[in-house]
């Protein structure tokens, strides 16, 4: 057997109240694509951080290419031995150029004292070429798109002669096309002997790319598997210890006589969206899908008053309204769950409980003007239970939660408002499959209480699972509507999304 590139033995790591890693071992062979899966808070990010030296394990052993580093390794050691980590926030420098972002780490690692601009550009260009990408390397990074930044981060890892590239949810913020491109690059790297360890909650990606899979549950290892011996259901079961069943949501507003809550008429804004006619009835879940950049977020933002449209009408309960700011939207019963939850929706320094009740604190005021503490505690406790937020206490700070659990806090916070129209942009980004299903249930439950919901998602599967009706947006226009999701194939919708069917007409 070839010597393992990375071997992790019996790692333990405890945070107060949580055993984040409990006797976890892992082996990555050269050139393999190894996938780490598990529910939110199962310890994936923590394991990665231990290997990268960002977090010190309590006990265990880390061995790279036969060299043992004991239970903890420093960042520099880890890099020197060919381990490259790309964190969820990418750790890039918005104020530096693309070239610098790609090349600097290598210069540091080589102990360079002076900057050689020519080399910086060369290294960057070569590295981009390695994965067949073209970005203007003199551009400041803050002028690059999210997907470009992802590419920059990967290129950076490549510059350092990485033998193992570790990525924490690399695909949660980029388009399907970029994912494909990324995977192509990954395969090319594998051929060169570079191994990959990555975390993803999108199981189809796991099967597409992974050679082997390690499953974590509650900080313990469930087992190592060859990807070929698994399928989606089996993997879900290994992760969660339960099987999932999907309950498609059927709802016909006309049959039910459901009132029209929100309607837009020829809503438009230059360069963003055009002639949008949209209807949301009480009790239905409308899906809105499309490629990244197709204008969905901009549309949602304008319904929430954060991006005033330039023309067209918004009609709520039959009367024309103008929504000039979030407070207007709130007054009309519209809530919006933002897509980019990285810090935006959360008050990081406050407790989980405070965050959950932040939006409803007003309504908790009794006749005395004092806040009804008991009701408040009940509300956040209820939401922590409902969404299974993994924490020892609601009094902990939000920043102590794992990525997926932070997402749930945001969701809880907005759901607690109990709006009439709820716009959810990317409800399950970074959420594990099981919780995803759970969140879908919650959304459908809410719809049954008469709420009108608009779900924005890249994932057609998700749209099919949670919605009763779906719209597809392309280049700022609604190009298709699917009223009966039971009778269409996923691939049909995907083709419209990608524009492959050539149709510009409403189906």
């Amino acid at each position: 057997m070839v010597q393992a590139l990375l071997e992790v033995r019996n790692i333990r790591k405890a945070y107060a109240g949580v055993q984040a890693l409990d006797d976890v071992s892992l082996t990555v062979a050269p050139g393999e694509v190894h996938c780490l899966v598990g529910e939110n808070g199962s310890g994936k990010s923590t394991l990665i951080k231990t290997v990268g030296g960002a977090v010190q394990a309590d006990s265990g052993e880390i061995i790279i290419n036969g060299t043992s580093f004991g239970s903890s390794i420093s960042v520099i050691q880890s890099i020197r031995h060919g381990i490259q980590i790309i964190y969820q926030d990418l750790s890039l420098f918005p104020n530096l150029t693309v070239a610098e972002n790609i090349s600097l780490s290598q210069m540091i690692e080589q102990g360079e004292k002076l900057t050689n601009w020519k080399r910086i550009r060369e290294v960057a260009l070569r590295s981009l070429a390695q994965i067949e990408e073209h970005i203007d390397v003199d551009l400041p990074l803050d002028r690059c798109s999210m997907a470009q930044r992802q590419i920059v981060a990967i290129s950076r890892a490549l510059t350092q002669g990485a033998k193992l590239i570790i990525m924490d949810e690399p695909t949660s913020a980029i388009t399907a096309e970029d994912v494909r491109r990324l995977f192509k690059a990954v395969r090319r790297l594998n051929e060169q002997g570079v191994a990959m360890l990555f975390v993803s909650h999108k199981l189809n990606e796991v099967f597409e790319i992974a050679d082997s899979v390690t499953v974590l549950r509650d900080g313990k290892k469930v087992g190592d598997y060859q990807a070929s011996e698994l399928n989606q259901d089996k993997l879900t079961f290994l992760m969660s210890g339960q099987n999932l069943e999907y309950k498609p949501f059927q709802f016909d507003p006309e049959k039910e006589g459901a009132p029209l809550l929100l309607e837009t008429r020829r809503l438009r804004k230059v360069n963003q969206f055009h002639d949008i006619d949209l209807k949301i009835h009480a009790g239905e879940v409308v899906g809105l899908t499309g490629l990244v950049g197709s204008g969905r977020t901009e549309l949602a933002l304008s319904l929430f008053g954060l991006n005033p449209p330039e023309g067209g009408d918004i009609v709520i309960d039959g009367s024309l309204v103008r929504i000039k700011g979030p407070e207007d939207a709130k007054r009309h019963g519209i809530s919006y769950l933002p897509e980019d939850r990285h810090g935006q929706g959360l008050f990081g320094h406050q407790t989980i409980a405070d965050n959950v009740v932040a939006t409803v604190i007003d309504s908790l005021r009794g006749t005395t003007g004092l806040i009804d503490a008991r009701r408040r505690d009940r509300i956040w406790q209820e939401w922590i239970d409902k969404l299974k937020i993994k924490t020892p206490s609601g009094h902990n700070l939000v920043s102590s939660l794992s990525g997926g659990n932070q997402q749930r806090v945001v969701l809880a916070k907005w759901l607690a408002v109990e709006p009439r129209v709820f716009i959810i942009d990317g409800p399950t980004i970074g959420v594990d499959v099981v919780s995803k299903a759970r969140i879908h249930d919650v959304i459908q439950e809410l719809a049954r209480t008469g709420m009108g919901i608009l779900v924005i998602s890249d994932e057609v599967t998700e749209i099919m699972q949670v919605c009763s009706r779906a719209l597809v947006m392309r280049k700022g226009r609604i190009v298709a509507e699917f009223t009966d999701l039971q009778s269409v194939q996923e691939s049909e919708i995907s083709q419209v999304v990608a524009g492959i069917d050539g149709s510009e007409v409403v189906a």
């Binding site: 945070y15 109240g17 700011g325 979030p326 929706g345 959360l346 008050f347 604190i361």
Partner: protein, 342 residues
């Protein structure tokens, strides 16, 4: 996860401040004769009221995630313009004094807010600039002439002598100065706003995360206007308190001494410079510590030239202590593992 009563108390920054005050008072009471007299304590509080009011203003701005260092210029502008206007028009009413000073304070505060919200200038830069703008304008357009006690309107000097709960002692009549009453009212108002209104929650929210607060439906711009307007309002009040205390108006007063003390008091009081955290109790205890130090170093035989040096040390030690205490409690809660650099 309820913590038991004494433990919860121990975890609070305010407890430590109170302990420092008690300890320092014991030292003072033993080392000097003049400290523990009703007369001294009442006079110390009277003298500290201005600082206390400005500290509340600074506290509110910090909690909102901003900073306002123009307040000394606002206070002196309110004061000096009010006095000069009263003299010019022959008005002699304490209400007019407060009215003019507060109006100017609010106007200047709103102008700060305008710069900060409209042009998104970082508040420190904006208020540093307006500090010079307001003070420069005062010197240039209003004048530099000092107004002495003889010319200060009598309503103002009388206001300075007003007291409630008067009682007679061997050293003469004592009472709780009206200044302390105004300070108390400012504390109560600020407490009510910060703890009991949505506006106050909004101030904390925008200090924690402005973008999130906006999405949560808080009217961020409006809240900022309130914050800086309120700083101006309190500064205007302090301007009149100050002139009725020293019975002399000169356009360089306040500007020269207030800034450092106020910052020291508020930081010591545990308000986070990064916004979103801080309590009124902490701020007020911080003010008391600074006043005690400032007024009694001499009693302890420490020359007054040391004050500047000493306040510097107090800020450094105070901030370090706050940092260490927070770190310990964060480690306890299991939050702090990856040490983030600032």
């Amino acid at each position: 996860m309820k913590t038991s009563f004494p433990k919860a108390l121990l975890a609070r920054h305010e407890t430590y401040l109170a302990l420092i005050i008690i300890l320092f008072s014991i030292v003072l009471a033993n080392a000097t004769t003049g400290f523990l007299t009703a007369g001294n304590l009442l006079s110390v509080m009277r003298g500290g009221a201005g600082l206390g009011i400005l500290s509340l203003a600074f506290f509110v701005a910090l909690v909102s995630g901003g900073i306002d260092i123009s307040f000394p210029a606002i206070a002196i502008s309110g004061q000096y313009i009010a006095i000069r206007a009263m003299l010019a028009f022959g008005i002699n009413s304490i209400w007019a004094a407060f009215g003019i000073s507060i109006a100017i304070g609010i106007a200047y505060g709103l102008f700060n807010a305008f710069l900060i919200t409209k042009f998104k200038i970082p508040s420190m830069i904006a208020t540093l600039a307006t500090f010079n703008l307001y003070h420069g304008a005062l010197l240039e357009f209003v004048g530099t002439e000092a107004v002495n006690v003889g010319r200060i309107p009598t309503s103002i000097t009388e206001f300075g002598r007003m007291a409630i709960f008067r009682f007679e002692t061997e050293q003469g009549p004592l009472g709780l100065s009206i200044f302390v009453v105004v300070w108390g009212a400012a504390i109560a108002a600020t407490w009510f706003i910060m703890r009991r209104t949505m506006l106050g929650r909004g101030i904390y929210a925008i200090g924690g995360d402005a973008e999130g607060a906006k999405r949560a439906g808080f009217r961020v711009t409006r809240i900022r206007y309130f914050v800086y307007g309120y700083v101006g309002f309190l500064s205007g009040i302090m301007g009149i308190i100050h002139v009725s205390l020293i019975r002399f108006a000169q356009p360089n007063n306040i500007v020269d001494t207030a800034l450092l003390r106020v910052i020291a008091a508020v930081i010591l009081g545990g308000t986070a410079i990064t916004g979103g955290r801080g309590t009124i109790t902490g701020t007020t205890l911080g003010v008391i510590i600074i006043i005690l130090l400032d007024r009694h170093l001499i009693m302890l035989g420490i020359p007054s030239a040391w004050t500047e040096f000493f306040i510097g040390i107090v800020i450094v030690v105070g901030v370090i202590a706050t940092h260490l205490r927070m770190k310990i409690s964060r480690v306890r809660r299991g939050e702090l593992v990856v040490d983030r650099a600032h």
